[in-house]
Symmetry: C2
Subunit: 421 residues, 2 copies
Amino acid sequence: MGLVVQKYGGSSVGTAERIKRVAERIVATAKDGNQVVVVVSAMGDTTDELMDLAQQVSPVPPARELDMLLTSGERISNALVAMAISSLGAEARSFTGSQAGVITDSSHGKARIIDVTPGRIQAALADGAIALVAGFQGVSQDTKDITTLGRGGSDTTAVALAAALKADVCEIYTDVDGVFSADPRIVPDAAKLDTITYEEMLEMAASGAKVLMLRCVEYARRYEVPVHVRSSYSDLKGTLVTGTMEELPMEQALITGVAHDRGEAKVTVTAVPDHPGVAARIFRAIADAEIDIDMVVQNVSISAQGKTDITFTLPKGDGPTAVAALESRRSDIEFDQIVYNDHVGKVSLIGAGMRSHPGVTATFCEALAEAGVNIDIISTSEIRISVLVRDVELDSAVKALHKAFDLGGEDEAVVYAGTGR
Amino acid sequence: MGLVVQKYGGSSVGTAERIKRVAERIVATAKDGNQVVVVVSAMGDTTDELMDLAQQVSPVPPARELDMLLTSGERISNALVAMAISSLGAEARSFTGSQAGVITDSSHGKARIIDVTPGRIQAALADGAIALVAGFQGVSQDTKDITTLGRGGSDTTAVALAAALKADVCEIYTDVDGVFSADPRIVPDAAKLDTITYEEMLEMAASGAKVLMLRCVEYARRYEVPVHVRSSYSDLKGTLVTGTMEELPMEQALITGVAHDRGEAKVTVTAVPDHPGVAARIFRAIADAEIDIDMVVQNVSISAQGKTDITFTLPKGDGPTAVAALESRRSDIEFDQIVYNDHVGKVSLIGAGMRSHPGVTATFCEALAEAGVNIDIISTSEIRISVLVRDVELDSAVKALHKAFDLGGEDEAVVYAGTGR
């Protein structure tokens, strides 16, 4: 008998009718001889509606109370799914994150999971019941207050439970068929990947792919939980996130996919003195404003005056705050001006095979040049090449790279057998 | 410094605007130098809407899951009130019934409170915060599952907390000005009572007055919690439920009010053998169907055949079930027929003074006779006279009794100074 953890998102349980469909799928999984634990997000737009209500009574709702409020959404959907399962003749019990043993720190709104002690879940499974667990929430170890986990929290709840219960797989049900070699809305012949390693999925998520949140993949990798991303609207197999790069054959240059991100902006601090400490003061100013930085470029100082420019990217929404933070420290940092550009886009090529094939970078740049796309910044990791380009050229860049690396397919996982390019 | 427990019903917090008004009243109470604990029901029709959702996914929702679902309503409203209080500059923390230490048995949907251990509430108060507690819910001592308390559960939560915290008063905010000498919709000159004893309030509640549920008054009496029933729409004093009959002066015939109940039906089991055991079998059949009986009348057997009729009243909704239960035991009980009449109404006169004034019963019957109202059944207690009449004569009966006992007033508590009638 296997143990399966399933997660269903808000649109999958958006109406009574959809809830009944989800219940049917859950019961079918149990009838196949599995113990089943299900994590459900709040119905449809419930979370947004509750946030809206909160803002009507209080412009700046206290974080503790916001968590008490928002967690009602998951409580409602999980109880309803449990009821729907019961009406199909199977036994089901719903639990809050706290009851399920999801222990967190006390950062309301973005709590991190410290531990998972799923005693009551195991007891329910032992009784032959299907367990429903409210996603996106836990209880603070210190204060015993209810906490929410931030974006992608339900996926993280599911993976964390799968790890604690040593589940055979964690199935994430979503509204796409799986992880693709590129966004199918930009590249019509994008191929659904059969499998992808944890590290590649991490890079995809960090590079803009929205199907799974970074923290959820990190958790899965750390505890070696196989994650099956699949569609809640069909029975087709999706994409299995499992395995590490070390397990892949070295000689094949595996290029997995192209990710893109329209959400970044570029900040250039010009003519800063080129001596130790200046870059530190710039990034400390940004860090103090609690802004995460992505790509960073500092050119070699060529000017006789010993000045250089420092460029970095960050989420668009944080742009104005970052500029203000730097302006306020002008005397400290001594720069000429701050150039802010939010008409940029980031394109990334991801693949474990890059490690052993230096030619990939050349092919990458040639493909973009042929498509007339100018490269602004380049940033790389062991298995990823990212560039910043003009936002209006983003789609062309994605298409060009996808074609150059032969990633298009017809429902086959793509393997770029090494041609040494 | 006093400790005040306040309870606000669903319509008092039905919209964001009303929530803000309630928050203002709570903060004003705290500014008067009180520690404040507030129990809030779910917003408006939330509970009904959730029930409706439940029925859409499952015709017979499992009780445990229904409680998990319905309790979300109170969680939402309490968090919102806490937020509104915060935006007024005061500190507030919301708690579920479980977090507040409301311990119950495991009867989902109609749980009884076993104990209240309000440690976290006391800690919040000691920190100078206002505590919000979700009404209508608790946690089962045995299973640790969330339970709901049934009708009037939020009032009961408030009184139970007031008892455990030794509060100075429990204020129940509602949409009427207080407890009246009769329903103002039937008797326009009904007077708002300034005070009423626990026993009289118990009789009023048991006789059809809907302003406070019986169990809530019982709890208040047992722990001697003063309950102030008042309007959430004004600052007028309401009715204070406090004190026992023993504390009232004996000589004054205090008649407090007239209550009525349109929700009962009458069942007569005719020609049952008049020997020991028969009545027991009838009432055992009804009890096995989990139906509560109110008034009971058995006439003296006058027939030569040793037969008699047994009549009792019960809630209208249970009528068909009761008749079916008796029919199914026909051979066991040996009756002739069952006569069912749901066109009846109950009128009750309540007052501590009845104990010492036998003339009250006579005045009662004369008033009804003069109004042309025929008495079907009479049932009395130490401080109450109830009669069953034809439902179309109910209003006339209420008016006649109210007048006969001079209960009308102009914002004064009514005292029927003994005239020996």
